[in-house]
Amino acid sequence: MHDFLDNTLLSRLGSLPIESRVPMLGNVAGKHRSPHRGSSVEFAEYRKYVPGDDTRRLDWKAFARSDRFYIKEFEADTNLRAYFVVDASGSMNFTGNGEAKIQVARRIAASLAYLLVNQGDAAGLSICTDKLHLEVQPSRRAAHLERFFSTLGSVQPTGETGLIAALHTIAEKTSQRAFVVILSDLFMDTTALGDALQHLRYRKHDCSVFHLMDPLELGFEFDRPHRFVDLEDGTSIVAEPNLIADEYKTALRDFLTTVRAKCHDAAADYQLVTTDTPLEPLLREFLTARLPKSKH
């Protein structure tokens, strides 16, 4: 059993489906809407018969009434392929007033992956740093989850972030539409981040961003000077937080606003998650917000 898995949480969230906001292109039938017409029970539309159509789908009753051939189309349901992109740069190792960001990322990724596989969808994992790029291909099999979890648990954040490159890679390599969940503190160039998100959007992927921040990073409350050592490159700086708090907070606020705007522009869900936030309400809200309006 992995320490980032919470059975109670998973059982409570089990009743909530994970929905995709865009039609998915799965290779097996599932519960997600497909861009193609299929054979599900949900009526979509009538269209005129053209030679070559499957005659089994002719609506004979309509032919009897109108003497015309109509093809009755139904929504096709398919499965969902989800990619969890976890930032494993050194900054994700930061532990301030809450849990380590990487741990929170593990818990979110593991919970959502479990729920996805449980509802018949495929969950894949991509862990990225500037030097390392671990990938677990999406799979619907329950046995696959163990590999997913062990890979997730083995991650040791180090070095600089490779998230931008990882996102571009996923956007390019994944031909079918996918649900991409990004878990990172996003300490990177926001313009490059925006480009990567736009790339994913262009490839019609459904994107969600969990922006992980520690309360200490947001509040920046210290009572004495500190030597701040960069978790990524090891450089350090001695600073008196009281003196620079205003400027720090201003810069951080600008950063958060920019990141949010980039996500919005790329039609990506944005969730600012502080590491001291309880997961259940966070995920419940996340899942509920994704439910189609008609299913509410």
Partner: protein
């Protein structure tokens, strides 16, 4: 500024504690792994400038607060004499005004100005730790080492006197003393700034300033004055004393310093040869001049006494002393040819009823051989004396005699004292020479002691001869020519009248002008015989001659034997009987203006500390630790204000961002 606990100033090192704590804090920083480095770097870059300055100001406030606290604990003293820029002083020369006017009390004090100023100087000296104090008091003018400032109030050299002060001379003495003194020195002048003591127009000031400027290390000059309102005070002054037969005529002035215009009654006590009489005097305004006739005991040849009024704001001006010798006939000599003028002069010089006055007429030719030693005055109505007569008259004048010259009633080529008579001039027909103005306060036509003027306007002349030469006119005819002129000659005075008591010349014989003129000249001439019994404190006559012993005879007040030479009273000096009074200038209460002080002490960069009306302030120096405590408070408040967070603190997690 000096400190009572200077060793505590080592505590100033504690001012570096806040800075040290700050530096130590910086060194003892905690190391923390940090992810959001990009914001930290940006904030560090942007926080330089104002923030750094603010932080430096906070640190400075903390350090200054500690320093001010240490200063307060060290009991800083700011002396009005020393000032903020003062440091250690090696020698202080204290010029102490011991004049009679220094005994006046401020309106709110019980002690005299002299006592107050001595206490202030003593306390300041004690707190400032001056190593050497030298006193030059106004009475002795001699430098005197004072072993301890505490003894200042006990010394005879600082006690009250009835003398006057002479500040040009005192400062010169201080300069002489300091010429042989090394180290940093200061001259402290404790005075009531009485103009008559400072003599700002005295020519000696230039030499005094020069001698101060010539000192190798120029001393700082601090003038300590206690001006301000004075307690109610009345004073009595003896203007003159003359024996007339069995009476002593005392010309007195009673005056008071208060501004009240209502009349007041003062008891005047007369002590004569041990007998005491009292009377009440009504003082109608500020001052009253009057003549008191003191009947002398039958057959009394010599005696003494004093008059006194009750004690008040100044104890030194409540009494006057007198002494008298045997009665002397007032003899006068009229040198004139027989005639109307000589007769009227003789009548005016020895009027009927004035038994002790006698006049003798001689021809001018006899003047050279006539003895003059016992004469009070000579009335000369002839050509100016020449030859032996001129020599005799000059000797008479030099010894204090009075001579009145009248026109010779004809052309006169001779001259005396470089003066000669003009030709006789006559008024136009039907017109007269009349007096236009005359000196009402000086000269033989001055107003009476009761303030009544001489009816000199009644004088009419048709002929006159003007004395030509250097003489000071005291009365003038309508056309500006002098009627009475004066020429001081050594101790005596030569008077010149430009008309004669001859009805073919003028109506001088009517006595309105002639009688008071002749009588006053006679009185002045006779005073030189009585003057030997009357003098002022510190005058030459009051000095003990070799072989003489000073013995005080009167019983007024509490005599101070150590200062008897500087006190008023009746003394016997050897064979001499002397009534010694305070100098007249001590009754002139005019105070030096700042401009006059600037003029007198020009170039000395003096400091004037006027403790006007602060008689209860025990010290010239003030403890200013409270000011430093207030400074501590101020620095701490400033530090707190600087440390306050800005009102517009940026909110990182705005609702918009979180949503």
């Amino acid at each position: 500024m000096l400190f009572l606990n200077p060793f505590l100033l080592w505590g100033l090192l504690a001012a570096v504690i806040p800075i040290a704590i700050h530096l130590l804090n910086r060194r003892r920083h905690k190391t923390i792994p940090w992810a959001a480095m990009q914001f930290l770097l940006k904030a560090t870059r942007e926080s330089r400038g104002k923030k750094k300055l603010r932080h430096i100001l906070i640190l400075t406030c903390r350090a200054l607060a500690v320093a001010a606290l240490i200063f307060a604990a060290a009991r800083p003293i700011v002396s009005g004499l020393i000032g903020w820029g003062g440091g250690s002083i090696d020698t202080v020369v204290l010029l102490l005004d011991r004049s009679a006017s220094m005994e006046s009390k401020p309106a709110d004090g019980l002690d005299s100005r002299r006592q107050i100023v001595i206490q202030k100087v003593r306390d300041s000296m004690a707190s400032l730790g001056v190593s050497r104090l030298v006193l030059i008091d106004s009475a002795t003018s001699k430098p005197q080492e004072i072993p301890s400032p505490d003894s200042l109030t006990e010394l005879a050299a600082t006690a009250a006197t009835d003398s006057a002060a002479d500040f040009p001379s005192l400062l010169s003495r201080a300069a002489e003393f300091l010429a042989d003194t090394s180290g940093r020195s200061e001259i402290w002048i404790a005075s009531d700034l009485q103009t008559s003591n400072w003599l700002p127009d005295d020519h000696r000031w230039a030499a005094t300033r020069a001698s101060l400027a010539a000192l190798p290390q120029r001393p700082a000059l601090r003038v300590l004055s206690i001006s301000g309102p004075t307690a109610a005070n009345s004073a009595i002054r003896l203007l003159g004393s003359r024996r007339s037969g069995d009476e002593l005529l005392l010309d007195l002035e009673l005056f008071r310093s208060s501004d009240s215009r209502s009349s007041t009654t003062l008891p005047l006590t007369t002590h004569l040869n041990g007998a005491r009489t009292s009377e009440s005097l009504t003082l109608p305004g500020q001052s009253l001049r009057f003549q008191k006739r003191v009947p002398l005991p039958q057959g009394s040849s010599t005696g003494f006494g004093h008059l006194s009024i009750p004690a008040d704001g100044n104890l030194r001006d409540n009494s006057v002393f007198f002494a008298y010798g045997p009665a002397r006939p007032v003899q006068s000599l009229i040198v004139a040819p027989a005639g109307e003028a000589a007769d009227y002069l003789a009548l005016a010089a020895a009027p009927p009823g004035f038994g002790n006055q006698s006049a003798q007429r001689i021809d001018p030719a006899m003047a050279a051989t006539h003895p003059t030693a016992d004469l009070a005055a000579i009335f000369w109505a002839s050509d100016f004396p020449t030859g032996p007569a001129a020599e005799s008259i000059t000797r008479f004048l030099n010894s204090g005699g009075q001579v009145l010259f009248l026109p010779p009633a004809g052309a006169s080529p001779s001259s005396f004292l470089d003066l000669k008579w003009s030709p006789m001039t006559q008024a136009p027909a039907g017109k007269f020479f009349i007096l236009k103005d005359w000196n009402h306060s000086d000269g033989p036509l001055r107003d009476g002691i009761d303030g009544n003027p001489i009816p000199a306007e009644r004088l009419k002349a048709i002929r006159r001869q003007i004395p030509l030469g250097d003489a000071a006119p005291l009365a003038r005819w309508e056309d500006g020519e002098p009627f009475i002129s004066r020429r001081i000659v050594e101790q005596g005075t030569a008077w010149f009248l430009s008309s004669t008591p001859d009805y073919s010349w003028s109506n001088l014989g009517d006595a309105d002008v002639l009688l008071p003129t002749v009588q006053r000249i006679l009185a002045a001439g006779a005073d030189r015989f009585d003057a030997s019994y009357l003098t002022t404190v510190s005058s030459d006559a009051a000095q003990v001659l070799p072989g003489e012993i000073r013995t005080r005879l009167d019983d007024y007040g509490t005599p101070d034997p150590a200062n008897s030479a500087y006190q008023s009273g009746v003394f016997r000096l050897g064979e001499r009987l002397l009534a010694i009074n305070r100098p007249a200038q001590e009754d002139n209460l005019e105070i030096l203006t700042r401009e006059q002080l600037d003029q007198a002490l020009d170039g000395t960069k003096y400091t004037l500390l006027d403790q006007a009306g602060q008689a209860n302030d025990p010290s010239l120096s003030r403890d200013v630790w409270r000011a430093f405590l207030i400074a501590v408070l101020g620095f701490l408040i400033s530090e707190a204000l600087l440390s306050l967070p800005k009102k517009s603190h940026p909110q990182v997690l705005s609702k918009k961002v979180i949503a």
